[in-house]
Amino acid sequence: MAGKIRVWIIAASVVGLATLAAVSWLSFRNTEELIAANQRLAQAHKLIEDLTDLHLLLDDAESSCRGYALSGKIDYLKPYEAALAQLDVTAQVLRHDLAADSYRLSQFQELEPLVQARLGVMKDLVQARQTGGFDAAVQTLQSDRGKRLTDEIRQKISAMQTEERNDLLDRERESRERARTTILAVGLTCLLGIALLLAASIVIYRLNRRSEKDHVALQNAERIQRTILNSAAYSMISTDAVGLIQLVNAAAEKWLQYTGAELLGKNIMILHDARELHSRGEQLTRAMGMLVTGDYQALVTKARYGVADEFECTYVRKDGTRFPVLLAVTALGGRDNDLAGYLMIAADLSERHAVRKMKDEFVSVVSHELRTPLTSIKGALGLLAGGATGVLPPKAGEMANIAHSNAERLSRLVEDILDLQRIESGRITMDKRLCDVADLIKESAESVRLLAEQEGVTIVSSSCQAPVKADRERMVQAFVNLLGNAVKFSPRGGRIEFGAECRAGSVLFRVKDEGRGIPPEKLETIFERFVQVDASDAREKGGTGLGLAICRSIVEQHGGRVWAESEGGRGSTFYVQLPLAEPSMATELNA
């Protein structure tokens, strides 16, 4: 909007200035020409006057000569002589004035011989009177040469004057035209100026109005933003590009126990645990392959490189107490896409952590409270069913066996639930050490050997030798779960292939059975809790429905992947892919 107005203002200024310049130039030209025309008018008037003078002088000279010729008195010749002198001067003046005008000069030059000739006739008359007396003078007078010359001169002068007068009229008309044009131009310019002034006033008035409106809108928007900011249940803090706090919302003030004024301009570091930032800096340095210092850079570096960054960290209150937050950092772009700063939105995790702790405590208590009676039940039933307390009657023995096997199943279920919960909650940290793939295969196969023998199933194992970084016990647990399933679902006399194939950067384990297979729609869901191919499997095969879920959790905790493939009715193959240990670690294993 502002840009459009600016363009209009510039365009109007250009038009105004251009018009003003054009009009000024036109007026200047017209005025110059007016002056020139006036000069020419004056010249024309003078020419007419001079020609009249010439004519009068000639008439004077002629009258004087005639007077002398008739009276013979020498006094009559005085005006003649004076006129002669004056004629000379007048002729000179005319020649001079007409020097620049060749046309008029040529006309004058045509007149001049006539004048000279007429003067010659006068001179002849004077001489005739002086030498021949009155009669000779009368005779000279009677010749009509003088009269013809006088007529010719009169005609010539009259023609010249007429022409000059006509010209004078033309020039006057032209001057009037020019004066009118100039007046019109100046008038128009004045009108244009007034119009521009008026337009400028309107524009300024409207701009003012708009800026007032914009100001109000801006104030409203600011108020709304403030309200959003301050009613958010998140701490929001923005910093500039070097980590100095620029803005703090109400939640941040409340949680951190600072007033906004106390925080503005301070380094964001004062709200963080220095040690935590230091270790995060080290961690990022390793992960990003570039130096990330353990100051505010540890908070913003990922965001600066456009990576969405959300992580758990600790906020430190004014009184030094701490609380956990989930911090999301976003880089703020300024004009021209340069970095203006960062926005840090934090969610208080205190409650979530408390709930997690409660859940962990609950699981721990339940585990103990369930296990203790189960241990007794299972133990007592085991002794009964095992005959340690003496031989039972056949029916009682059968019942004891049923009770014992179900106590076993319940016990396994409790173990599996707790196991899965602990692996998924991260309460069990995988004790990852270097293991050889072949050893994992051997140990896992050995663990299910007895079960396989009982079921009449053969396990054929093969392996490659390569190092993986794994929690040996947990990985064996995962493979035992897969092998146990394979044994359970294999027909008597069936064969299970258990092998590993070492590839570049990873190793692919394979458990292939000749069981009934898995329908395609179940290939993915069987890894979910309590999902089995057939609902009766838990009862008939004694599974808990958690074995594959535990297996997947363990594999994922190792950065690996587990999946199943099956061609209906022709057995199933379970794959586990694990990353190989880095070569530098492998040498450790070999040494």
């Binding site: 721990s364 203790t372 241990t375 007794s376 299972k378 133990g379 007592a380 340690a388 016990s411 196991d419």
Partner: protein, 137 residues
């Protein structure tokens, strides 16, 4: 002379099952105690060949009882096997604190005597650890 084993566990039922298992299946002599404090006193008095000690007990827990047993001259050389649920198991830590090994609850009463013998390195013949087997010391 059969070996004497002291079972210390706050849960009476577990104590009884363990006692029955060790006596009936393993052929050991079994004495029991229901708390850490009582267990230490019994151990000092009876000087058993081995102690099976529950880890999670009220008042004085298994760890504290173990450290007491390791301190007292009459009991410091008696091997102690910790009895624990899998959740709390940290074998390395317990061994470094003086335990001889670890038994995980819930245990199989038919296998318990065998497991004790394996941990303590007592000789055990396979056919003995059967329905009515006994371990020989």
């Amino acid at each position: 002379m059969p070996k004497t084993v002291l079972v210390i566990d706050d849960d009476r039922d577990i104590r009884e099952v363990a006692k029955a298992s060790l006596e009936l299946v393993g052929g050991f002599m079994v004495i029991v105690a229901g708390s850490g404090t009582h267990g230490v006193a019994v151990a000092q008095e009876a000087k058993p060949d081995a102690i099976i000690l529950d880890l999670m007990m009220p008042d004085m827990d298994g760890r504290q009882t173990l450290s007491q047993l390791r301190l007292l001259p009459e009991t410091k050389s008696i091997p102690v096997i910790m009895l624990t649920a899998k959740v709390q198991a940290n074998k390395q830590e317990l061994v470094s604190e003086g335990a001889a090994g670890l038994l995980v609850k819930p245990f199989d009463p038919m296998q318990l005597p065998n497991q004790v013998c394996v941990i303590l390195g007592w000789s055990v013949s396979r056919e003995d650890v059967g329905r009515n087997g006994s371990a020989k010391g």
